[in-house]
């Protein structure tokens, strides 16, 4: 059952990612990005990361994407063209072979390593949110504070940048 869901979420997120890059109209790209974010959040659920699922849906799909769509609607962009280098066909076959080789190596690799201190059973006992909270406010407290300061800087920067500037002499008619 997990395999079925994984296959669906993986294929759908890849398709949505390709559509985000390939579609012409910017608003369509934004909606494809929304599909990508929601399907990636589905992958998080399969990995027992419910808290990250909620954060992904609320922050990414709810806040960041709405910001993108707001700016897209505000600027009323036209469709634009994509630039492929004129000789891109010569790179297609080496790129495909290289990617297939990397995938082959990935599938062979067992990824064995030292286990950490949060086995699935222990996480499921109190829930993922509890585990994330305990870890964040003990071992990762400094990083948490740094992210807070970073977000404050981002807020101030965005306000300063997007504030209406002093009227300048504009020679062109809009």
């Amino acid at each position: 059952m997990v395999v079925v869901f994984f296959t669906y979420f993986a294929l759908a997120s890849i398709v949505a990612g390709v559509m985000t890059v390939a579609l012409k109209h910017p608003v369509h790209c934004g909606l494809a990005l929304l599909a990508l974010l929601l399907h990636v959040s589905g992958l998080f659920i399969l990995l027992n990361a419910e808290f990250l699922w909620a954060v992904q849906v609320i922050v990414y799909a709810g806040a960041i994407l709405v910001l993108y769509l707001f700016v897209l609607m505000l600027l009323n962009l036209k469709t634009d063209d994509r630039y492929f280098h004129s000789s891109y066909r010569y790179f297609l076959a080496p790129a495909a072979i290289g990617s297939a080789y990397v995938l082959f190596l990935l599938m062979r690799s067992p990824f064995k390593g030292a286990k950490g201190d949060a086995p699935t059973v222990a996480v499921l006992q109190d829930g993922d949110t509890y585990a994330v909270g305990i870890k964040m406010f003990s071992d990762y407290l400094l990083q948490f504070e740094i992210v807070g300061v970073f977000l404050l800087g981002a807020i101030i920067g965005a306000i300063v940048l997007a504030k209406t500037p002093k009227p300048v002499v504009d020679k062109r008619d809009r």
């Binding site: 890849i14 890059v21 934004g30 990995l47 954060v55 990414y60 910001l67 993108y68 920067g157």
Partner: protein
């Protein structure tokens, strides 16, 4: 049971898609969206390793990445609005003032 390799492969494909988008698209907003795709690919990787190696660190770093992505989107879109106000264009090839 889905192997860890499958998650890493999905993440790699998504990362390459985002990289391709940054390289071939000329609309600044879509370039930023492609960067979001790449950040999401990194998040999948981190959470998958966090699950399979039984450590909480990956999920925390993924949380921080989401916070960084929010800041990056806010600043990037503010820059787009400033540029658009002056030049009526979001083509990355026409934003070359810093090159001189």
């Amino acid at each position: 049971m889905v192997p860890l390799s499958a998650y890493v492969a999905v993440s790699a494909v998504l990362f390459l898609t985002g990289l391709l988008g940054v390289l071939i698209r000329r609309n600044f907003i879509i370039v930023l969206m492609s960067v979001e795709i790449m950040l999401n690919a990194a998040n999948i990787n981190l959470v998958a390793f966090s699950y399979y190696l039984e450590s909480m660190a990956g999920q925390l770093v993924a949380l921080f990445i989401i916070a960084i992505a929010a800041g990056e989107a806010a600043i990037g879109l503010a820059i787009i609005i400033v540029v658009f106000r002056g030049k009526i264009s979001t083509n990355v090839d026409e934003m070359n003032l810093l090159k001189w």
